[in-house]
Amino acid sequence: MSSRPSPKKILYGSFYLVILGVSLGILYNSFFSKKIPLIGSWDNKIVSDSISVPNSYDPPSDPPAISLSQAQSLFQKEGILFIDSRLKEDFNSGHIPNSLSLPYEEFEDYFLSVKEKLLSYKQLVIYCDGTECETSLYLARILQDEGYENIKVFFGGILDWKKAGLPVEKS
C-alpha cells in the first residue's frame, strides 16, 4: 500500500522532525514554570586563589571554596571531616581516605545516622567528582541550612585529588 520513500524524502522528513522538536522545545519552555534561558552561561568561574567553580556557585552566601593545596593541608589536620557527596557505589570505588559518604541524592536516608557525628568536627570539607559535578555544592547548602558551620567545598573533588597522585581509599 505505501511505497518506500526516496532517500531525499527521508532526509527532508528528518529535517522537519528536528525543526519540529526544536520549535516545540522552545515554545514549551516559554510557557513552562521551570523555564531556563535559551542561552545559558555554563563556563566555570574563577574565584580567589584561582579556584575553578561552577557557574551556580554564589559566594558569600555559599560556603567558601578551597583549592587542592588547601584541601591537602586540611587533610593532614585533626578535627576535619571530608564528606563525599557522590553515590555510595562511586564512594566505594575510590574516595579520599577517612572521608564519610553522605550521598546528596540519598541525603534523607543517610543524614540521620551521621547528624551527631558531624557536630564533633571543627570543619567539614565536601567534595564530589570535580568541578563538573555540583552535588558537593548542593550538599554544602543543605548542611548550611541545617545549621552546620565551618563548611568548605573542595570543587576539584576526587578527580583533582587523584590527578595529584594523592592517596585514595577503597571500601
Binding site: S2, P5, G21, V22, G40, D90, P103, E132, T135
Partner: protein, 158 residues
C-alpha cells in the same frame, strides 16, 4: 529462515515499538527537568556554552516525536534516521568522556538525576544495540501496521 525472520514485517514492527518506546520514555524526565538535563549536557564538555540550553530544550522533544512517530508508523524512516543519528552522537559523547577524558559521567539517558548511576562502557553497548534497531528499521521498514494504513482501511475503504 533466519533472514526471513530478520526482515519480517513483525520484526520491523517489534523494533519500531522497542526503539520508539525507549525514546518516548527517555524524553519524559528531560522535558520535566530541562535545568537538570542542561547540567548533564554541560558535563559532556562537548558543546559550546551557548548551545547547551538550546540542545537541552530541543533534544527531548525530538526524541519524543520521533519515538511516537515510530510507534504510530508515521515518517518511520525519517524518525529512525534522526534517532540513529542521535545514538551515534551520543556514542561519540560517551566515548570521548569515558576513553579520552577518563570521566564516567551521568549519561542523562533516562533520568536527569544529578548523581544517577553511571555506566560508562556498558552504556555504549546499549547504545549500539539501539543504533542497530534504528538501521534495521531504516532499511527494512515496509510500513506495516501504521496509523496511516489503519486510517486508510477504516475510512477510505471503498
Amino acid at each position: 529462515m533466519l533472514r526471513q525472520i530478520f526482515t519480517d514485517n513483525y520484526t520491523v514492527l517489534l523494533f519500531r515499538i522497542i526503539l520508539g518506546t525507549t525514546f518516548v520514555y527517555a524524553s519524559l524526565d528531560k522535558i520535566a527537568h530541562p535545568d537538570q538535563f542542561a547540567h548533564i549536557v554541560h558535563n559532556y564538555k562537548i558543546l559550546p556554552s551557548f548551545l547547551i540550553n538550546l540542545l537541552a530544550l530541543s533534544l527531548p522533544w525530538i526524541e519524543l516525536f520521533c519515538g511516537l512517530f515510530l510507534i504510530g508508523g508515521i515518517f518511520i524512516e525519517s524518525s529512525a534516521l534522526v534517532l540513529s543519528f542521535l545514538l551515534i552522537l551520543f556514542a561519540l559523547g560517551i566515548s570521548y568522556n569515558v576513553f579520552i577524558r577518563g570521566v564516567d559521567i551521568n549519561c542523562g539517558c533516562f533520568t536527569t538525576s544529578l548523581s544517577a548511576k553511571k555506566q560508562g562502557a556498558e552504556l555504549l553497548i546499549h547504545d549500539l544495540i539501539l543504533f542497530g534497531l534504528g538501521l534495521h528499521i531504516l532499511f527494512f521498514n515496509r510500513a506495516y501496521f501504521t496509523l496511516p494504513n489503519l486510517y486508510h482501511r477504516l475510512f477510505r475503504k471503498i
